[in-house]
Every structure is written in C-alpha cells, then in structure tokens.
C-alpha cells in the first residue's frame, strides 16, 4: 500500500474535470461515507477501472459523479436493477450501489428484497439519513415514528423499517450496519461488504441536519453526531444487554455473514456445465 495521507488518497480518486462545489450541505454525513468508500477501495487495491458505482436518486445519488470510477447515476430506487444487469454481464467488475433510505427502502423496496433473494454479487450501501433530503425533507420509510417532517407536520404515525431485519428477512448474504461517527469501523465493514461474495448490504447511519435534525430538536449537526456516538453500540454488546438496557440503542456491526456464492457465479457455473455437455454431445 502507498504511504499517503487520507486527503492525498482522496485526491487521487476524485474527478479533476468535474466542477465543484459539490451539492452536499455542511455537516452532511454523505461525504464521510464517500471518503470511507475511497479509502476502502484503495486499501483493497482494486483498480479504478474495475469499480462501478451505481447510484440512485437523492443526495446519496449525487455521490457517484465526483469519483473517478465507472459511475452510473440511475433512476429513483432502481440502482440495483442496473447493477444486476452489469454484474451478470461482466462478473469481474466490483459493482457498488449507493442508495438512500427513501431510494432503497421505499420506491426501490421491491428491487432491494429481490436483489437480496437472488443473491446477486453486488454491494449495496444504504445511506440512511431518515428523510428525503434532496426533495426538501419529506418522510421516508426510515423516518422514526413520532418525528416531524414536511409530510408529517403533526408527527409521523407510521413505523419505520429496520433495514437490517429487512435485509436478513429477504435472505441477504451479508448484512451490516455502521455510522459516519464510527469511521474506522465503517471502513472495516465496507471492505468486507465489497469483498464478500453475493449480495452484501451495509446500512450507514448518516445525519441530515438540514432536513431532519433541525426539525427534530437537534441544535446542530454536531448534536446529531453526538447522538450517533451515544446511541450506537456494537452488536455483540447489544446482544448481551437486557431488554430494558437497550432502549433506543442501535446495534452496529455485522448481523449476517453467510458467504454463499453470488448468482453470477452460479449462473456461469451452470453455463460451463451446459457448454461441456453440448461439446460432449457434438463429439459423439
């Protein structure tokens, strides 16, 4: 590995011909996720040409354009469908989807559960900021019950999704959760999510002060990071905790790790068998 500092690494991976400034607000956690992603790819020594970033729509969707990989900014909720086509077409590519909570869990919920079920070899990063940020702060399926948003001015009545249980229920190969406060852990999780076979899902809690925090009693972005620090506990510790100790705590870490081969691996295995059979039949 090269002996370079964090910022220098990032500069190697940003597009030099892309006009800045970027679209993200001050205090947004998305930049930390993108930084982690770059450092993970760098530490794993994956060539830039082999990395495909497939992003959905929303604040998270805009991350793709800044990095010097193969990048595709798709439609709202559908990143995984494009990713499936790409991975099946060329399994040697590392396909990483960046999606938001509204993106992956609401409009793209169907694609998410089916990508998990068919175990396509794609890394799904779900950047959960509990809100629709780009469109102006409307409720998402991850907006906690009781909090307020532009479409729930009197308080959110609906329950929110637990992304991890959803992924586990749908049969995802690898399910993990991290936060932008716990950056070193996030990078470890991201490296695993990129290298493990099959469908790997990593939820990242990333605060949005502009659209969520300031309407829900967070004084500033720093408050939200402090909240993450206080609330998140390693899953190992969480499991040992008694029900009453758990309260609002959110477990982070690895929840599922099956290591099953991805769909593309099984498909091309099948193809090999079929072609061998054909050849044998022709040989007769």
């Amino acid at each position: 590995m090269n002996e370079v500092t964090g910022n220098e690494i990032i500069h190697q991976y940003l597009r030099h011909n892309k006009k800045f400034p970027h679209v993200l607000c001050a205090g947004c956690g998305h930049g930390i996720v993108l930084g982690s992603l770059i450092r993970s790819v760098h530490s794993l020594d994956i060539p830039k040409d082999d990395v495909v970033i497939v992003a959905g729509i929303g604040c998270s969707g805009r991350l793709a354009v800044y990095v010097d990989f193969n990048t595709i900014h798709t439609t709202h909720g559908r990143a995984l469908t494009f990713a499936t086509g790409i991975k099946m077409s060329n399994p040697k590519l590392k396909v990483i989807c960046i999606m938001g909570d509204g993106d992956a869990l609401s409009i793209g919920g169907n694609h998410l559960i089916h990508a998990a079920r068919r175990n396509i070899g794609v890394t799904a990063l779900i950047l959960n900021n509990n809100i629709y940020g780009m469109t102006g702060g409307q409720s998402s399926p991850a907006t906690p019950s009781g909090s307020t948003s532009m479409t729930a001015p009197f308080g959110q009545l609906e329950e929110s999704f637990d992304t991890v249980s959803l992924g586990q229920g749908a049969g995802a190969n690898y399910v993990a959760r991290g936060t932008v406060f716990h950056v070193q852990k996030l990078e470890r999780l991201m490296c695993e999510a990129i290298t493990k076979p099959g469908f790997n899902m990593l939820e990242v809690l990333t605060p949005c002060h502009t659209q969520y925090g300031r309407k829900n009693k967070f004084k500033g972005p720093v408050d939200m990071y402090k909240w993450l620090k206080k609330t998140a506990v390693p899953v190992e510790r969480y499991q040992e905790m008694k029900e009453e100790q758990r309260g609002d705590r959110i477990p982070i870490g690895v929840f599922t790790d099956k290591g099953n081969p991805g769909l593309e691996e099984r498909y091309f295995g099948l193809k090999k068998e079929l072609l061998a059979k054909q050849q044998a039949a022709e040989g007769k």
């Binding site: 082999d50 900014h73 439609t75 559908r78 494009f82 086509g85 077409s89 060329n90 590519l93 079929l274």
Partner: protein, 381 residues
Amino acid sequence: MARRKKKQEIFALGNEAVVEGALIAGCTFYGGYPITPSSEIMEIMASRLPAHEDGVFVQMEDEIASMGAVIGASLAGRKAMTATSGPGFSLMQEHLGYACMAEAPCVLVNVMRGGPSTGLPTSPAQGDVLQARWGTHGDHPIIVLSAADVQECLEMTIKAFNMAEKYRTPVILLIDEITAHTREKIELPNPGDYEIHSRVVPSMPPEWYKPYEETVRGVPPMPPIGSGYRFHVTGLTHDRNGYPTSRPDEVDELMQRMHRKIDQFFYDIQLTEETTCDDADVVVVAYGSVARSAEFAVQQARESGVKAGLLKLQTLFPYPRRAMEKLLAHARTLVVPEMNMGQISREVKRVNMGRASVRTINRVDGQIITPSEILKVIMQG
C-alpha cells in the same frame, strides 16, 4: 419447435422468430418479466441463452427492473433486450426514457394486447402505437418498428438491434398478439445473409474520450464499462463529459443532437413495403397483422378492377413521411385500418394535409380486422 437443419426452415411462432432474430443479431442478454402474450420470448430465451456461448438470462422482479437490467447490460457492452406486453410496457416507460437520455442501445419488444389496463390479455390490439412514441416523459426521439408476419418478426428484430447499435438508442418493436401467436414456416438465414451492426467503440486514449461528444453522425462512440474508459452516465441532462448541467447552451446541444442523430438518417430508418402502389387510386396504409388482411383485400380489389395498393409500414416512428408523399401524387383515397380508435391515422392525416380523402377502419373488440371489412371500404373508392 420442429427443426430441419438442411433447409433451415422451421415452423415457428412469431415470438420464437423474435428470439431467432435476436440471436442472429448478436443479442447476449435478456432480462425480463413474464406477461401474456409475450411470455414465449422469455421462455425460449431462458433455455437458449444459458446454453449459448456468451448468453446471459435473468428473470427480474418486475418490468421496471427488467429494463434497468437491460440498460445495465447495454452499458457493460452487451446487445440486450426485453419483451413485454401492455401493462408491462407501461412500467417500462420510466427506463425507456433513461435509455434515450443515456443513449444506451437496447431492444424492447412489445406484443400488443387489448387495453387499457389489464384489458384483453389474449386478444390482439394495436393500442400502444402512440404510447411507444410518446409514452416516456420528456421530448425524446425514438425508433418504433412493427412486424406483420412470422418471417418479418425475425427480420425486424435484427433490424431493431442494428438500428439500436447504429444510433445508440432504444428501439421498440411492436407486434400484436396475432403475429406473436401465429405459427408459420420461416427460413432461418445463413450466417452472413444479414448485415449485423455493432456500436462504435472509441479508438482514442481514455483521457481524450468524451462520452457525449458532438460528432458528425451525432452518435458518440461507446465503450463497455470496465474497459478503461471511466465516465459518468446519468439520466440528468448532461454536458459532453456526461456531467449534469443546466446551462442552456449545453442542454440545447444535447437535445438537438439526440433528435438529429435519428432524424438525419431517415433513409435508413423509415422502412415501408409497397404492393401494387405505382398506379393505385386507393392506397391502404397498414401495419402489423392488419397489413396481412389489407394485402388480401387489395388483391381482391385488383381482381375486380379497382386500382388498389398497400403501403405496409415497417417503421412507425419516425413516421415514414416520404414514402407516403410519393403515393399522394396519384392516390385519391387512403384507407387506414387499425385495431385501435385511430392512432397511426393521425400521422397519415398530418402528412396528407387534406390532399387525399382518408378513411379509417377502427376495431377495438379484440378481433382482427378482416379482409372483407377492408375490401368494403376500398370498393367505396
């Protein structure tokens, strides 16, 4: 179905012929969701592609996902297609627009059944013609082809792939339930019988490459992702580098080029077939299975002394204006039979501009327009 190798003749469904055509054209990716009456295309692809040297088949969770996967495969360098019908076609409109914007070549076969909504799943119709042209939002160019019989299903599928690759655009092939579900004897072409086109890939070094650059043809070269050309693809309006822009000059350049690349190649794209049109007083303008009824009716009209002709539209959009202009020099009457309430007849009237009298025959009861219905109108002059 029954195959005979020597003669290369098969007795096949229209849907089977689509698959044969696609494989001849070099299709190596199918992503789809089953729906009547297009399902045979998917079923046959499911058995052919995995056993094909380089074929990939995926069954997706819905039609939105199908088109997403097809575009993904296209960006990864494959010739990709999907097939659907009515309700599924509505769901595909979202990504059809993305394919236009990202200029991702792909082929979408829509086997038309009765609508609106779930409609008549096993009956023919031609109600999706204007949806094919204008179904996805925004001002976009698109190519829409049609096929009238089983042999044409094979040929037009090959042409659809060729046009998609040449012009970096989605191409829609509209067939109807009758054509899809009719078995006929067709000839399989030998290798080399058809010209097969593939997209132009860049020859310049990656650092010089601009994915959406203005070129003479209006069609920028397109490398498969992962081949060393790293660039950005987006559904947002973009500049030559593919980066989002809202600068009016850059927006206008993109929109103009997207339209120009299709419009300027009208002679290659706008396909028609004429039958006894040279001296015709009455010309039937028809497409799809209705063109077969029309052919029978025109033949009967000729036998009883009426100078009738048939202009069969193989390309529906961009509308083959020039082929019709030529006929308007002598045709007094245009007859437009369609299994809808009048969709292509709008185009006919637009080009006609009041010169000939236009008579429409419209049928929306899930039944094909018969030769006798058309003959009756031809004989009225």
